[in-house]
Amino acid sequence: MILTYQIINISDLNNIDFTQVCETSAETIRKSVDETLFTIKWATEPTFITDGTVTPVQTLSHQNCVILMSTPEWQPNEE
């Protein structure tokens, strides 16, 4: 199954229908270090994307999302 990864503004968190994405809930999402962004992933485009309720900041392949996650903006220090 090919998944699409998207970066979303934290201000859109309440507009995410978690039944349409792989993320379990608002409590389990991965946020950027500064907590202004978070990730979602899906196989079928969610209606909240299709109808423009949420406009992604960025749309990525899995490989490119993994690369993004290793940057300082997303990767907290161990300590």
């Binding site: 998944l3 389990t28 993994v66 690369i67 990767q75």
Partner: protein
């Protein structure tokens, strides 16, 4: 059926019998004799979990089972897992992070080697040790970490890291702040991540947690010449065992030793895959 005998051949049909020990009595015209027959489960490993390196992880509720310090002294523990990393593999298993806050221990991949870090309640009070074996992406390896529970300012010297049954030939030790012992916090355990980030990219299989320091014999038994095996048959110090897909039903990954089941978080049922060591 408890014990099934093929009426034509007189042989025991193991596939139709229930696991257990039975007394079989043979009766002939000249008398009878008894013998014990034990039907055992045959260990098979056909599944692992695939982690995406973004937000996939297993979440296990906090339990004293996974805490090995009381703030004053540490106690021994060990962790074993089979892993296959892709790029940027990070957290293998941890009891570390914020919200709820708790900083106890992390086992992870950093700079392509295995690092273990123990924490005295705070991120900046730690004892760390990392091995020297480069973890090759795309290859299954067995990782076993043991700790003798010594605590104190040389706690990292009580850590041993084994890759495919062999202890690392050299270590790099580091630490920060003051370390006396780990604390028993409410932080959940995570497999495939720490701190809800630093997510593992690749596969993890057959994760065992032990409340003792495995010795070389124990390590050899777990590694089993490169073939995953029944961890419950090796040592009574096993306190948690996750088969990572075998006999599991999404989203629950059963603890086959204790009662601390794990939940697949931000994952899908097809993250249970047929890719094993």
């Amino acid at each position: 059926m408890p014990l099934s005998i093929n009426s034509s051949t007189g042989r025991i049909d193991t596939s139709a019998s229930t696991v257990g020990t039975y007394t079989v009595t043979y009766t002939t015209s000249e008398g009878s004799a008894t013998t014990q027959v034990t039907i055992q489960d045959c260990f098979t490993n056909t599944k692992s979990l695939s982690f995406d390196g973004v937000d996939d992880r297993l979440q296990i509720a906090d339990s004293n089972t996974f805490s090995f310090g009381n703030g004053t002294s540490d106690s021994p523990f060990s962790v074993s897992a089979w892993i296959k990393t892709e790029t940027n593999g990070k957290g293998i298993i941890s009891k570390w992070g914020g919200n709820p806050s708790g900083y106890e221990w992390i086992i992870f991949i950093v700079n392509n080697v295995v690092r273990v870090a123990l924490y005295d309640a705070h991120p900046s009070h730690n004892q760390r040790r990392e091995g020297n074996t480069t973890v090759t992406t795309g290859e299954w390896i067995n990782v076993i970490v043991t700790y003798d529970g010594r605590g104190g300012s040389n706690a990292n010297q009580g850590i041993k890291i084994y890759i495919n049954g062999e202890e690392e030939s050299s270590y790099t030790d580091s630490g920060a702040g003051t370390y006396v012992a780990m604390h028993n916090t409410t932080r959940p355990v995570q497999i495939g991540a720490y701190n809800t980030a630093a997510n593992f990219n690749g596969n993890i299989d057959e994760v065992g947690v032990y409340n003792a320091q495995l010795n070389q014999n124990g390590v050899n038994a777990v590694y089993n010449n490169g073939s995953p095996t029944d961890l419950s048959a090796i040592t009574t110090s096993l306190v948690a065992w996750y088969r990572m897909g075998d006999d599991d039903t999404f989203p629950t990954i059963t603890d086959n030793k204790g009662s601390n089941d794990a939940t697949m978080t931000n994952m899908a049922s097809n993250d249970i895959v047929n890719d094993t060591p």
